[in-house]
């Protein structure tokens, strides 16, 4: 009988090897799926994984990868602090929406001013809006002990309804022929989040994502806050002895994740999306949760995971237009990739052994929430 044995420390070798193995496994199984659909499996896999990076139009698709990955990375970085400390914000989708809403609302209040201050003001408002939305579950958790997973999830639904309300009501474009949706912010120079490198579409959100990765890396490895976060995740008791305030940690982690999600929202609404519309949110907030875990809550890991997700999105689109692959097959393929990645993570923290389980001294402290096996 095969049994699992917890490793004393996560294996470095496996940590690097499992993502590669998972991608390979997905290629094999996905290839079989594509073949079953009557498509050339090698060509399909090549289109998804190779062409966006090195294909004929790579000079267009490479920056597009950054644009797609930007919000995912930004949000996932924010979430990773809380996830490390055992604080579960799964409502980033709602904070993303609120960031876009408050950012757009503040900007549109000054329409059609041409002031240079408007864009920075909108960015600030977006970050604050996302932060405020995330602080609701934080406050309720600290004051009443409510479960932040559930409150933050409920607030996603409230946020999407607010979005619909705004798109049909207060933020609706008065010149939009009655269609739901706000003015196009990308076409209003004072509010537009324009290309930083002309012609690439790379905007401030991408820069912010890059900065967030660096900041998170420094914070986690060099700063006392990073220490508190890691300690709280490993042993809340030890953290308390070390003087880490549990409620302070809740507020801090939720505020950071909310602010970064809000930033992602405001950069998206002023740039690639251009306007507030009913279906403005395309699940970046939920996908970012997956990205955070795929990246093992490590800033560099998140960077790579975000890029990998973006690759499957863009490669998947190319496979649709060029090979006529149904969108559903691409979705299925993505789901498969995530499953393999999540499943193989096991090898990083556990060792497979033949024989019977034996009593070990590595029993985890089980009285407090723990992140998944692969994260410690």
């Amino acid at each position: 009988m095969i049994v699992l044995e917890k490793r004393p420390a996560p294996s470095r070798g496996w940590a690097l090897a499992t993502p590669v193995l998972a991608v390979l496994a997905t290629m094999v199984v996905g290839g079989l799926l594509f073949a079953a659909l009557g498509k050339d499996p090698v060509l399909a896999i090549r289109t998804i994984f190779w062409d966006p990076l090195f294909g004929d139009f790579a000079s267009y698709t490479r920056p597009q990868l950054l644009i797609k990955a930007g919000p995912l990375i930004l949000i996932a970085i924010g979430l990773s602090f809380g996830f490390r400390a055992g604080i579960w914000n799964i409502g980033a989708e709602g904070q993303y929406v609120l960031g876009a809403l408050t950012g757009a609302a503040v900007g549109l209040a000054f329409y059609p001013s041409e002031s240079r201050l408007i864009f920075p003001l909108m960015v600030l408002a977006g970050a604050l809006g996302g932060m405020a939305w995330a602080l609701i579950p934080a406050l309720l958790k600290v004051r009443f002990g409510t479960n932040e997973i559930l409150v933050s999830l409920m607030l996603v639904y409230v946020a999407t309804n607010l979005l619909a309300y705004a798109a049909l009501g207060p933020l609706q474009n008065p010149e939009g022929m009655g269609f739901p949706g706000s003015r196009n912010l990308a076409q209003w120079p004072a509010a537009a989040n324009l290309d930083l490198l002309p012609g690439t579409g790379v905007h401030w959100g991408v820069v912010a994502a890059g900065l967030a990765v660096i900041a998170a890396y420094i914070l986690l490895s060099r700063h006392v806050f990073g220490f508190a976060v890691r300690l709280a995740g490993q042993s809340p008791r030890a953290a308390a002895f070390a003087g880490v305030s549990p409620s302070g940690l809740v507020y801090a982690c939720m505020a950071i994740s909310g602010a970064l999600a809000g930033l992602a929202g405001v950069f998206e609404v002023t740039g690639p999306a251009g306007q507030i519309s009913i279906d403005f949110n395309v699940s970046y907030g939920f996908t970012a949760i997956i990205v955070a875990f795929l990246g093992r809550l490590h800033p560099v890991g998140i960077l790579l995971a975000g890029l990998l997700m973006a690759l499957t999105y863009i490669g998947g689109e190319m496979a649709q237009t060029q090979l006529g692959l149904p969108a559903a097959a691409v979705q299925l393929f993505q789901g498969m990739l995530l499953f393999f990645l999540l499943a193989m993570d096991l090898l990083t923290t556990y060792r497979l052994r033949l024989g019977h389980q034996r009593v070990t001294a590595t029993r985890p402290v089980a009285t407090q929430p723990h992140p998944a096996g692969g994260t410690r």
Binding site: I90, T146, Y157, N161, Y165, A328, L332, G335
Partner: protein
């Protein structure tokens, strides 16, 4: 404005029907969460059930077999989740989200050859004598059998949670370490709970594709799985309150549409977000009020379990 057009009896009767899919899915999720597992993949399992149920019903011509197929389909998808979460120790939140993605893709791929086909019809079962009752008759006793099945399942789960097996399940959900120390088979119990959750979600999905629409169209569940998740929380993990929650969440939508039909201007978005706000308030109340331990979320909800001995 003409409120006299709204008949409370008919309103409640359509509520029973409107709430059935979310009730079924939420009931399954309730059992899963009671066992300490958070499965966010309800939407994916629902839509998988919607297509497998539809395909089975079309192939066999029998709606009953269709619902069986739906339960099987939902449960089959949940096995994936169970294996990943229970034995491969993957994170529940991320795995559940991936399951939704996978399920939506799978369902629309399988469904491609079922566009435009109609499902075999299902008759209402009017329960003799009872259906003749004034008021209660039309509200409760003139529906199709799945509505009754939903209610029966609520009662069954309510009863089950009081049996020895149910207490064991709850113990596992409250504190899996302690349950394990007592010799309970934590993983096995959770596996069956997840399977039940998948089957229920599948039934809920099939109610949409076989009764309410009744046709296969992509995206037929349109977010019902997410509402089911909210209802479980609203109900504070109690089966009878679950019924209340399903009626509230289904009822707001039905009421809103009825008010519109009666020409009452309604703030649609405000009404639609109301149940979620209420759910948060309920959460706050049960977390801060007395008897907190008895009402709050299952203690081990969302945590991984590794038997180290």
């Amino acid at each position: 404005m003409d409120l006299s057009g709204i008949s409370p009896i008919l309103l409640l009767a359509s509520l029973m029907v409107a709430s059935t899919p979310i009730l079924l899915a939420a009931l399954g999720e309730l059992v899963v969460e009671r066992a300490g597992i958070l499965n966010l993949g309800v939407e994916g399992m629902m839509i998988t059930g919607a297509i497998t149920g539809f395909a089975t019903a079309v192939a066999t011509g029998s709606p009953v077999l269709g619902f069986l197929g739906a339960a099987a389909g939902g449960a089959a998808l949940s096995v994936l989740f169970a294996v990943l979460v229970l034995w491969l120790k993957s994170n529940q939140v991320a795995t559940g989200l991936a399951l939704t993605l996978f399920g939506l893709g799978l369902a629309s791929l399988v469904g491609q050859s079922y566009n435009g086909i109609r499902a075999p019809e299902m008759a209402d079962i009017t329960i003799p004598v009872l259906s003749e009752l004034p008021v209660l008759g039309p509200i409760l006793f003139q529906h199709d059998w799945v509505v009754y099945l939903g209610l029966a399942l609520v009662a069954a789960v309510w009863w089950f949670l009081r049996t020895q097996a149910g207490l064991t399940l709850r113990a596992v959900g409250e504190n899996h370490e302690a349950a394990h120390a007592l010799g309970y088979k934590v993983l096995r119990l959770r596996f069956f709970a997840i399977l039940f959750g998948g089957a229920c979600a599948g039934l809920g999905g099939a109610y949409l594709s076989l009764v309410r629409v009744p046709q296969w169209t992509e995206g037929v569940t349109a977010g019902a799985g997410w509402i089911a998740l909210a209802i479980v929380v609203f109900a504070s993990w109690r089966p009878l309150r679950l019924l209340l929650g399903a009626w509230l969440f289904g009822g707001i939508s039905v009421l809103q549409l009825n008010l519109q039909a009666a020409n009452v201007p309604v703030p649609v978005e405000v009404l639609s977000m109301a149940p979620y706000v209420i759910t948060i308030l309920v959460l706050v109340l049960i977390s801060s009020g007395r008897g907190r331990a008895a009402l709050a979320a299952p203690g081990s909800l969302g945590q991984p379990f590794h038997a180290s001995r």
